[in-house]
């Protein structure tokens, strides 16, 4: 193995940029900060491409198996002789793949923001936060230790919080940022307790050691974690389900998804980076990282499968009814992550056996490109029309040709039309589903058709439908906004051809996968039909959509209201936590606990008031007390204590 210490620079460059811009940016070089942030990220991106290339093609494979390497590992916080939080870099196929995705998409977003955020007063702060996010996300994917991943997990959470609340004077942005943080924090509580259970039984927090001891059925650690139980469920199941809750929170899985649509309050490039391509797939990454352990437990895997499946369907239905283009994309993200989740859930260990795992990672990879493209395209549209609502758009294809073409490419990709990237990965997911679980397969098939429908509903509403009312004062946007769109468009055309199954599998042994054309006919045809339906309904302005939505009645309105999940949460937090817990606690403290203390003080004062008469200063009284005291003592000694 060659010297890989330079890989540490990949996360550290954005960190340096964060420190520099965060401390001095605003005051000394506000205008230049975009260039500084972008340059450091460009360097980081080049390094990560080089690192991935050398890993996959030069040193990573030993005896036809991709190995795991740990670089620059040191003990950060020692808890006991065996358990400690270590910091280090873990190189394996999924971490190298994620490093490429994160730095590349982040670079595109950095470049796009140069134009999009131009003239913003807190330009330097914006780039500082972007750098902080990129650093944390890179730290997350390179983690060697389950506690290290938790640390960066929290850090990406806070960067997301800071960026959602970037427009800090907007009440909705403040509420959204708080909601995103609190909901994911709640999920992270599960993650934390899961870590505590795993760490306690496995006696290590290190990923490699953890996986190797737990997957050995003879090890004392494995016996300990499978024999201990709580409410009849083994500690292993508890730990994995709890860890998965953390992942589900970050990845916006039902019912913890409520923060993601609101998170669209942040600047649109941020949504492209954090809430589409990178941070929200952290949950998928976490399950993939611990996959050998998850594979030991059927219950945990089922939880992953069905949570993913339900999220995929629900989000797709809701996406069909939303009118805010960023919210449509947000639900679409949730739905696609649902695909990745259930693909993991139905997977097994091994090369071909682990098709679901490979497909999930492949979809994560392709999705990052076309979804960030969709968001950046939406950003360009919003930049032009100054609105997020579909009704303010329409007919924009002539005004913004580049955005139009790239957006179309991305829509075709997400709909799974060959030869665009999404086709390849989605096909693998469907194939894996059909091989292992028919129920999952049919639901996924329907969801995939719905995907094509709502994406083209979005596409036609923005670029066709009515004639454009928008008049552009600044055209399609600056060059820095167009370049990322073009690059991502090309990637969306190209990345499907990456021989992914030969590079990323859960046991390191690649296999040759091929597209089964006979199998593909059904999903592709369904998607094409959906696109056709969408074009009939939305290409020209007509009344059909309204008639259909009316005929669906209550179902449509409840989907539009996001199935009232938010209301349920509000009820629980306000009625239950505020009114039944927090308020009584504060009252109790003020009146009972503190009241008792004051009562004690008052009683003391009253008693002293009563007995102060004793200190009268009259000698004859004192003499009386004196003799009375002697008499009392005498009685005490003679009769009682004899």
């Amino acid at each position: 193995m060659s010297n890989n210490n330079y890989i540490a620079l990949i996360p550290l460059l954005p960190f340096a940029s964060f420190v520099l811009l965060g401390l001095f940016g605003k005051k000394y070089f506000n205008k230049l900060s975009g260039i500084i942030g972008t340059t450091s990220l460009l360097a980081s991106c080049v390094l990560s491409l080089y690192a991935a290339y050398t890993y996959f093609f030069v040193f990573g494979k030993v005896n036809a198996v991709y190995q795991k390497f740990e670089v620059l590992k040191f003990s950060w916080l020692q808890f006991s002789t065996t358990t400690s939080i270590d910091m280090g870099l873990l190189l394996d196929p999924i971490s190298m793949m994620m490093v490429v995705v994160v730095t590349f998409v982040s670079l595109m977003v950095h470049i796009f923001s140069l134009g999009y955020m131009k003239g913003e007063e807190r330009f330097a702060t914006y780039y500082a936060f972007l750098s902080l996010f990129t650093f944390s996300m890179l730290g997350l994917v390179l983690s060697t230790n389950i506690f290290q991943i938790y640390i960066f997990w929290e850090l990406v959470g806070v960067s997301s919080y800071l960026l959602i609340g970037f427009y800090f004077t907007k009440a909705s942005a403040i509420a959204a940022s708080k909601k995103a943080f609190v909901v994911t924090r709640f999920a992270d509580l599960g993650f934390l307790i899961g870590i505590l259970i795993l760490g306690f039984h496995a006696e290590t927090l290190d990923f490699n050691t953890l996986i190797s001891t737990l997957t050995n059925p003879q090890s004392a650690q494995f016996l300990s974690i499978t024999s201990a139980s709580f409410f009849g469920i083994t500690a292993l199941t508890w730990a994995l389900v709890l860890v998965f809750i953390g992942g589900a929170g970050k990845s916006a899985m039902f019912p913890l998804h409520i923060w993601l649509p609101d998170a669209m309050e942040g600047p649109t490039p941020v949504s492209a980076l954090i809430h589409a391509a990178t941070m929200v797939v952290a949950g998928v990454f976490l399950v993939a990282r611990l996959f050998p352990v998850f594979a030991l437990d059927v219950t945990a895997l089922d939880a992953v499968t069905y949570t993913g499946l339900i999220s995929a369907v629900i989000a797709a239905i809701i996406a069909c009814t939303q009118t805010d283009i960023k919210r449509v994309l947000a639900y679409s993200t949730m739905s696609q992550i649902g695909f990745m989740m259930f693909a993991l859930g139905i997977s097994k260990i091994g090369g071909e056996e682990g098709l679901g795992y490979m497909a999930s990672m492949f979809h994560l990879f392709t999705h990052a490109f076309f979804k960030s493209l969709l968001f950046l395209g939406a950003g360009a549209v919003i930049h032009l029309v100054h609105s997020n609502e579909m009704k303010d758009m329409g007919g924009l294809r002539k005004l913004m040709p580049i955005t139009h073409i790239t957006f179309l490419i991305a829509c075709l990709a997400i709909s799974g039309i060959p030869p665009f990237a999404g086709f390849f990965s989605k096909e693998e997911i469907l194939l894996a589903a059909s091989n292992s679980n028919k129920l999952v397969f049919y639901v996924a098939l329907i969801t995939s058709a719905l995907t094509a429908f709502y994406m083209f509903r979005l596409y036609f509403s923005i670029f066709w439908n009515k004639e454009s009312q928008a008049h552009s004062e600044h055209g399609e946007g600056t060059l820095t906004m167009k370049i990322p769109l073009i690059i991502l468009g090309i990637c969306t055309l190209a990345v499907g051809f990456v021989p992914f199954s030969e590079l990323v599998t859960n046991n390191g042994i690649g296999f040759h996968s091929h597209i089964d054309y006979l199998f593909s006919i059904t999903p592709v045809t369904l998607s094409l039909i959906s696109i056709f339906v969408a074009s009939v309904l939305y290409k020209k302005q007509n009344l059909e959509p309204e008639i259909i939505s009316k005929s669906l009645g209550k179902f449509y309105t409840s989907a539009q209201k996001k199935f009232f999940v938010d209301e349920v949460y509000l009820f629980i937090t306000h009625k239950f936590i505020y009114t039944l817990i927090a308020k009584p606690t504060a009252w109790f403290d003020k009146n009972i606990v503190d009241g008792l203390m004051n009562l004690m003080a008052e009683t003391t004062a009253k008693i002293s008031e009563l007995i102060k008469g004793v200190q009268s200063g009259k000698v004859q009284n004192y003499a009386l007390y004196f003799f009375a005291g002697i008499a009392a003592l005498a009685i005490l000694f003679i009769y009682i204590l004899k």
Partner: protein, 488 residues
Amino acid sequence: MNLSLLILFPLIFALAIPFCNGLKQIRMLAFIGAVIQLLLCFALLYFYSIKRNLGNTSQMVFENNLVWFAPLNINYHVGVDGISIAMILLTAFVVLAGILVSWNEERMSKEFFFLLMLLSVGAYGFFISLDLFTLFFFLEVAVVPKYLLIGIWGSGKKEYSAMKLALMLMAGSALVFVGLLGIYFNTGTFDLIQISQMKLSFEVQKLFFPFAFIGFGIFTALFPFHTWVPDGHSSAPTAASMFLAGISMKLGGYGCLRVATYLMPDAAHYYSSAIILLSTIAIIYGAFATMMQTDLKYINAYSSVSHCGFVLLGIGMLNQTAINGAVMQMVSHGLMTALFFATIGMIYSRTHTRLVSQLGGMLKIMPFISSVFVIAGLCSLGLPGFSGFVAEMTVFMGSWKNSELWYRIATILSCASIVVTAVYILSAIGKVVMGNLENNKFNALKDASWNEKLAAILLILGIVIIGIVPFLLIDLISPGTNWITTKL
């Protein structure tokens, strides 16, 4: 190194203050005194690590033992280990920051700075004492000035708060004293090291442990004796709040660990579940009570109740990891809460309000102060990179080692408090820092001055250093906690 210097220097500066004229001279003297003290503490840390690196494994170093009052076996016995050094460094940071934020205290400034310095003498003396009587003496030296600081320079219902605080802390001291006397009459000595090598009978431990633990516990907001915290803090002037939460509450935690738990380990095991119960209540209850507060100082005071619960929880878990966590939490909470109170003081001195509802949009007019506020908040909710995270996680990891059901439930509940903390901290940030400017009069307000900036940077530096390289702190305190846990 002679530890008595740590008491001597602040004392000399305190006594020199009355001879100064005018605020400028006084504050400069206090400032120089605090800086020298900080350098002295770093020198102590340096010489200490040299000693340890040379292979010195004795429990205490730089010991000094002089007879003070022979008939009662009272000695002036001082010495330090890693735990005391961590607490001493914390004190030095908070004192310097406190003096910097009181830069413009014009009202009776001589007395004010004198009392601040006197308070620090008490704290330094307390942390280096190895004789129970000396320790108690310094504890009292640290209590009395607070009554005056709140009663004279305070705000709001200051007489009530000052009285309440003084009475409750005095009651705590009285309990502590009973505990100490109990130990003394059963061992014949006040010397902490000697007592630790003897074996107190279980009956004696069982009888006197509650006195010592509850007594010190009152200082560190043990439920249900925490009610002095909100009132005391909210009425106190900024620097006094900082000293109170940053240093005084740590006297209690340190005492619980060093005196109660270390000297009476069997009783600590016996009462462990009770300690866990009370500290878990404090953690959860404090967090929920904070949610309903509307005054910034009350928010921080109640959240201190919750955060100090982690100190007692860690001690009550009785294993080295958890106790390491408890000590880290003391240092972390000391720095963080001092930072929070300093920021609240900065906001209050400008806007003359601490009510969350009347503030808003501070980020627009005072970006520095607002950023510090956000940093303090993020540290309080346990964000990695700041000290709170490592301390809390160490407590959790240690707590989880106790596998009985009751301890598990307590740990889970304590973990759950981090969600509640996130709720109230983010609400406060959302309302105070973000949003639109609530009051147009605030438009002309100025951002932090150099002294306030320096104070904030100093404390943030401490927080971030512990948060990013926590192994420095844990390596420092581990030998000390090891001595304590081997006796358990």
